[in-house]
Amino acid sequence: MIRLHHVCKVFESGPMRLPALSDISFSVEKGEFVVLSGASGAGKTTLLRLLYADEQATEGEIEVAGFDVRALRRSDVPRLRRSLGIVFQDAKLLSGRTVFENIAFVLRVLGTPRREITPKAFQALKAVGLSSKAQAYPAQLSQGEAQRAALARAIVKSPALLLADEPTGNLDEAMAGEILDLIKDIGSRGTTVLLATHQARLATQLKRRTLKLGGGVLLKDEG
């Protein structure tokens, strides 16, 4: 599902060269649940952005869901992203729309037939236990509920790969546990998951394969 081969990323700003990732190579098989751990600034977010083509790698090969990401033309990026679900630390919900409308928005954007939108949106909300909040606006949700809504939005299009960038970063321990259970549940249904976290304890707690990044280098691949 994911294959990186000697990937490097250097940010350039005028004469300045800031290496963010150096010689990263690993593979993630279909259906696997992998944790990407490391302190803040280790390069986790940059790595995820390379995977969904929000940044271009400086060197190396990247293959995601069958797409050769480095060879993708700008106009083909949407095709890659349609096979991905992405969740961030900040839920990024649209404040002027209800939870249901936030989920339905994705389906409408992707041209899902109108009759399929409502059942699919409610199915996703049910999967994250948020059916009762369908008509609530983001401002009326707790942080945990907002992150559940973001998860529902990510899975509503049945992605092959879920990329989660610090999804529990803003949550207390109890809420973080709930979100992790949901992500594990999504993974157990066959979706490949790559979850980035700076919380070392959380990575240990999950008891999954863990890729540890530090200073832009892959330090460990264990589990």
């Binding site: 969904y52 096979s83 990024k92 994705v106």
Partner: protein, 294 residues
């Protein structure tokens, strides 16, 4: 998908608020100015073409020709370049015509000892020979004929009218272009404002894999809707102004230009004006996208 794009465009239009309304007003102003000058030019153009059709050169003869001489003269005049048709008017026909024109006052003609009117040949120039230059050349050729006493007529004043028509066209296009530019910039501002407000939506659309067309079309459509609304309001204003002014101006137009009635824009012209509005709006939307992504 289409309903999504349309509904997003309408939501964006609402978000544009006062700037959006200003953009619509400016498009209205620009198209009203353009349409107003177009109407003036259109009606002047009709007068010009009507008068061009009526351009005649009258050749007054020294003496009334006899049968053979008349046939010979007619043949020679018809053979001159730029002549489409000739009609001989005898002395008695000229008097008859004057009598009809005088109507009740025709009695004064009975006081005349003899018919003072000369025989003449009325020459209709060919369509492309109704310019002042061509009629001047024709007049010179006709004057050179030995039977000819005097030649009158020409197209100078029709060309004066045509110059006014062209002036209206140029002024209309100039004023319309300046206002259109202002309208495009206002639509650009309105759309940029909306793009700023909807950047969260745009980010989500891109992240979930929306195609660029789906991301961009609402902005384009928003601009087009502003343009269409502006065009419709402009047409309503023009139609109202025409309905109010035309009946009052027609007697004057008839007297001065010989136009029995002033016409409004035709259906294709109306559609062109509406399309112009849509293009103005769409340009504004496109420029805003460029500005926002620059």
């Amino acid at each position: 998908m289409l309903s999504f794009i349309v509904s997003e465009a309408l939501v964006d239009l609402r978000r544009a608020g006062r700037v959006g309304v200003s953009a619509i007003l400016l498009i209205t102003l620009s198209l009203t100015a353009l349409g107003g000058f177009w109407l003036l030019s259109l009606n002047l153009g009709r007068a010009v073409s009507q008068w061009r059709d009526r351009v005649r050169v009258v050749v007054f003869l020294r003496e009334e020709p006899t049968g053979g001489a008349l046939a010979d003269l007619t043949r020679r005049v018809e053979g001159l370049p730029g002549v489409q048709r000739v009609r001989y008017v005898s002395k008695s026909q000229a008097l008859q015509s004057l009598r009809q024109s005088l109507g009740a006052q025709a009695g004064v003609l009975e006081q005349l000892p003899r018919n003072p009117l000369p025989a003449s040949i009325e020459v209709t120039p060919e369509e492309d020979a109704t310019t002042p230059q061509a009629t001047r050349e024709l007049t010179a050729r006709l004057s050179a004929l030995p039977e000819v006493e005097d030649v009158q007529g020409g197209a100078e004043w029709v060309e004066g009218l045509a110059r006014w028509q062209r002036l209206f066209e140029i002024v209309g296009l100039g004023v319309g272009a300046v206002l259109a530019l202002a309208a495009i910039l206002t639509v650009t501002t309105a759309t940029t404002l909306v793009l700023h407000v909807r950047r969260a939506e745009t980010e989500i659309m891109r992240l979930v894999g929306a195609s660029e067309a789906v991301v961009r079309l609402p902005q384009l459509l928003q601009g087009m809707v502003q343009g269409l609304l502006g065009a419709v309001v402009a047409l309503a204003l023009l139609e109202t102004a025409y309905a109010v002014a035309a009946p009052r101006l027609e007697p004057l137009l008839n007297l001065t230009l010989g136009l029995a009635r002033a016409v409004f824009l035709s259906l294709p012209q109306i559609l062109l004006l509406i399309a112009g509005g849509a293009v103005l709006g769409a340009l504004g939307g496109l420029l805003a996208r460029g500005r926002a992504t620059a």
